[in-house]
């Protein structure tokens, strides 16, 4: 309840500011105006939200999959660790935004370039969190497995991987929070649909209230993605109680 009161207070302050300063709506529209646009253009907004939502989810799925696969490879093979791990770390020095135009050039204006962008943004937090988890297995468990004549493969799949799931869950939460950034940057650089595309279009035409409405829907979408991922992540590690709820 309390956050809702805070939000309403902020909205009221915003409305008051626009009214007192007599700001024109193409600079800063009052929340009441944005609400009206939200209602009037809901069909358009919903359509674009479905597009961007699909980009985010596909990007998240792809990034989680690739990131997890690479983390397991690094944990399983010293060769991969030696030859490819430094490259993955160095690759983080490349600003992702700078790669966006290239992705659009290679993959086109459609969904593929945005999915690739989102996957690229979340890839690193996923690799680093899961790989970290795989390296921090309780040594007692590893010794127990040794006295039981377990093969390295069995130790990886049955002990190290499950033990690393809490770390992977944290990585997935971060990934869900940043996946929208990737999708929207991709749309800003070049797209033919989506909420980010709608924002740049309406801003260029002086339809600032519509841009704000698109931003609002984008926030809801990001929140929904985060909450859904958080739920799934908790289900992944039922043995780990979470404090502070």
């Amino acid at each position: 309840m309390r956050p809702l009161v805070t939000a309403l207070g902020l909205l009221a302050g915003w409305e008051l500011l626009v009214w007192l300063a007599r700001l024109p709506p193409y600079i800063l529209p009052p929340p009441s105006r944005v609400a009206v646009v939200l209602m009037e253009r809901r069909a358009l907004l919903l359509e674009q939200a479905a597009w961007t939502g699909a980009e985010m989810m596909l990007g998240l799925a792809l990034g989680l999959l690739l990131g997890a696969a690479l983390a397991v490879l690094f944990a399983a093979s010293a060769g991969w660790r030696r030859w490819a791990l430094p490259l993955v770390i160095v690759s983080q020095a490349i600003p992702v935004i700078a790669v966006a135009p290239l992705l659009v050039l290679w993959l086109g204006y459609g969904m593929a370039s945005k999915v690739a962008m989102a996957a690229l943004v979340i890839f690193f937090p996923v690799v680093s969190s899961l790989y970290d988890g795989l390296r921090r297995t309780d040594p007692g468990w590893l010794e127990l497995a040794r006295t039981m004549d377990a093969s390295p493969r069995a130790v990886l799949l049955q002990i190290r991987l499950p033990a690393a799931l809490p770390a992977f869950a944290s990585g997935a939460r971060i990934a869900a929070a940043v996946a929208p950034i990737g999708a929207v940057i991709g749309e800003w650089v070049g797209a033919s649909a989506g909420l980010g595309f709608l924002m740049t279009q309406s801003l260029a035409r002086g339809q600032t209230p519509l841009a704000f409405a698109a931003l609002f829907v984008l926030c809801l979408l990001g929140l929904a993605l985060y909450v859904a991922t958080d739920r799934l992540a908790r289900r992944l590690v039922p043995w780990q109680p979470i404090q502070g709820d």
Binding site: E143, T147, M148, S151, I159, P162, V237, W239, P241
Partner: protein, 236 residues
């Protein structure tokens, strides 16, 4: 029952983090009996046990052993039953794993956890977790069992119950048990060795009379306990 083999250490050097724990060490653990290793903290009891288990760098286990550490080391994502047959799961032999099911159930019933087969470890008390760890150790069905202060952090009554249980279930196996509790050594050990000094030297064999688990109220036991404590204080 086939009698369990004796376990011996011959002129072993045990080095831990650059410190010599034992030098030219030779020790004999009789087959089918329980030997308790007593000593003060830091003397190297655990290192000796890890040497026997092949867990120290450059060592190999003396043969197939079952190892029970100080912590229960139950995997939090596996049920109690799956934790008990962990060894069979890890070795990936489907037939052996299948065969281990009834054995694991029987052992869990013996340690009083027959109604908690599907429970996750986090829902169990410390004593119950340690009993599950004991069942897991026995489910390995190895002739040699190495135990490192298995009941060290349990309350006195739970510890007594578990000692009785362990004495019954470990009968016939070659057991080396590290403990810092003289009474525990006297209740469970067919033989007791005190380790002292740096690098440590094992003391002579102390073999209390009577079958294990021994009655803690036995005056002979209590007199021996006083003697052991005295030796630990001067020898440490």
């Amino acid at each position: 029952m086939v009698s369990s083999p004796a376990l011996s250490v011959r002129s072993a050097h045990i080095v831990l983090d650059g410190h010599v724990v034992a030098e030219n060490l030779s020790l004999e653990f009789p087959g089918g009996r329980t030997t308790c290793l007593l000593g003060r903290s830091g003397v190297g009891k655990t290192s000796l046990l890890r040497h026997l288990a092949g867990l120290l760098p450059g060592t190999a286990p003396a043969g197939p052993v079952a190892y029970m550490a100080q912590r229960d080391l139950l995997l939090p994502w596996l049920s109690v039953l799956d934790n008990v047959r962990l060894g069979h799961r890890l070795r990936g032999d489907a037939a052996a794993r299948h065969a281990a099911g009834p054995r694991a159930r029987a052992l869990l019933a013996e340690v009083g956890l027959g109604h908690h087969l599907d429970a996750l470890p986090q829902t169990l008390s410390g004593g119950m977790r340690q009993r599950a760890a004991l069942a897991r150790t026995l489910c390995e069905d190895r002739q040699i069992v190495l135990m490192d202060e298995p009941f060290g952090h349990l309350d006195a009554v739970t510890r007594f119950d578990l000692q009785d249980l362990a004495a019954r279930l470990l009968r016939g196996r070659t057991v080396v048990m590290v403990t810092h509790d003289p009474l525990e050594a006297l209740r469970l050990g067919h033989e007791i060795r005190i380790l002292s000094g740096t690098p440590f030297v094992p003391g002579p064999v102390i073999a209390p009379s009577g079958a294990v688990p021994r009655d803690p109220a036995d005056p002979e036991l209590l007199a021996l306990q006083a003697r052991l404590i005295g030796e630990l204080r001067t020898g440490g």
